[in-house]
Amino acid sequence: MNGLRGSVEIARLTFLEARMRKMLWAILLLGAAFLILYAIGFHLIYADIREHMSGSAARLLEPTNFFVMAGLYAINFLVVMLAVLTSVDTIAGEIASGTIQTIVTKPLRRWQVVVGKWLGLALMLGVFTVVMCAALLLIVKLIAGYMPNNPVTAIGLIVLEGLVVLTLSILGGTRLSTLTTGVVVFMLYGLAFIAGWIEQIGSVLRSDAAVNVGIVVSLIMPSEAMWKRAAYLMQPPFLRELGFSATPFGAASAPSEAMVVYAVLYTVVALAVAVRWFNRRDL
């Protein structure tokens, strides 16, 4: 079987698994529930605010922006959770149960198994991210007529964050047990989250040391940095000029474009290492 076809068969299998185990339905239903709840909540609160702040449209911008960022941040968090939970068992679990043995003894190369699983999960995660973010922005647009800056780039960055986490989790699964991988990836995510804050506060206080700590951790785990950049790009310019984030979800300073390139490279390298580790391991 040629390279692409083998990977596509494995990707198809991950999709089939998600469907047969009712995971797709659960995500679809709960995602819809999230959006409906968000729409109702935003609608009610927006109507309330408009009543109290009658007249000035500009003054409505700040609370609206707050709601958009809070909603997107919640989605961003769901994406990270889903990235880990859907992928953490896919290789480690099949090695532990032995089901991998009948798969890798088919006319496939091992890299096709890793890349195929990555492809299937990345596709599902990507579609989920794009649909959820787009739906949320659409809800806000319909209710408040507001669209943050750079929505497409921002969604792309959230997808990239999901892929970073997903790939790391697949990488862990080629060496470690399911549980250990899950713990490691979540810990790294938590670390990056805290480091993001240290960097933000450091930049407000002009503490180079704090900023550097943040950057180093972002290099180890470039997940939260993607959200920070997305949030920064979406901020209305007047909020950006305040020099600090108006919401706890936003960002006063943005990780640079170089960090985005780094995150892409990081993902590619992590996948390559996952292939290499899986290739060398006894099954």
């Binding site: 079987m1 076809r5 068969e9 198809r12 032995g98 043995q101 009948t102 003894t105 006319p107």
Partner: protein, 322 residues
Amino acid sequence: MLIETHNLRKTFGDTVAVDSLTLSVGAGEVFGFLGPNGAGKTTTVKMLLGLVAPTAGEARLLDHRPGDPAIMGRVGFLPEQFRFPAWLTAGDFLDVHGRLYGLPAAERRARIPRLLARVGLADRARSRLGEYSKGMMQRVGLAQALLNDPALVFLDEPTSGLDPLGRREVRDLIHELRAAGVTVFLNSHFLSEVEVTCDRVAIVKRGRVVRIGTLAELTRQTTEVEIRAAGLTAEVVMGLERWGRAIADLGFGIADSASPIRNPQSEIRNADSARLTLTIASEDVLPEITGYLVQSGARVYAVAPQRISLEELFMRVMEEEE
């Protein structure tokens, strides 16, 4: 040769799982791989399939590196640990694996029901594997191993979970495979099963092959001959000891010093016909023995080689020291 290994070795830390294994299996052979628990059978099969990397030595499968995708389409494998995804139905499971083999849809549609029927699961094709019993799981694994009409099949203890009927069915299946010219590498603990299915057998012990050959060769190597003759003197019987160890029917060695028939001149009691068993190295000496007996004046009624069973051979091999 479909399978060839040369000094294949695998260690896990300090444990030597397989220790310089050299063997070859030819096309159309049903090859039995026997050994006690932990002898290295599963590890060997895994090395032959590219699942486990050897520490040293070399293995070739269909003239390729083990695991090479170029040949794996012609290889079938039933793992020892037959756990398959619980969320798939048997039909879907086989369809997925058919796809992984690259079988076109029409072929999958034709073969899958036939194989399910062949392993006795025709009426359970739509059940999820999670609802399957152990033996049913093994049966579906067997169907999976034969999905691609393989030229070479590895069966790692294919009947460990099966009922007596299932065992019989697998035995018949292996006979069918042999008739179809398929090469089978069989790991098994059921010696009676190996005895009736295998052309050639290797017995492994602590990662080393200690016996290898056709069943006939192996069970002939240490043969017992039953001799029934009249007019035997103790002297004549003692003369037999040059070919092997003779045991009289009474249960003692002829040459034992405590033997009641030490007196060379005395004719053995029950002169009409004495029965004794002689353990010899090979059947080749039978004519010599017969000639000797006749020349000594004994009236020979029977010189009958007794094949030992595979089980007996296995037990003896296990008792041997290194």
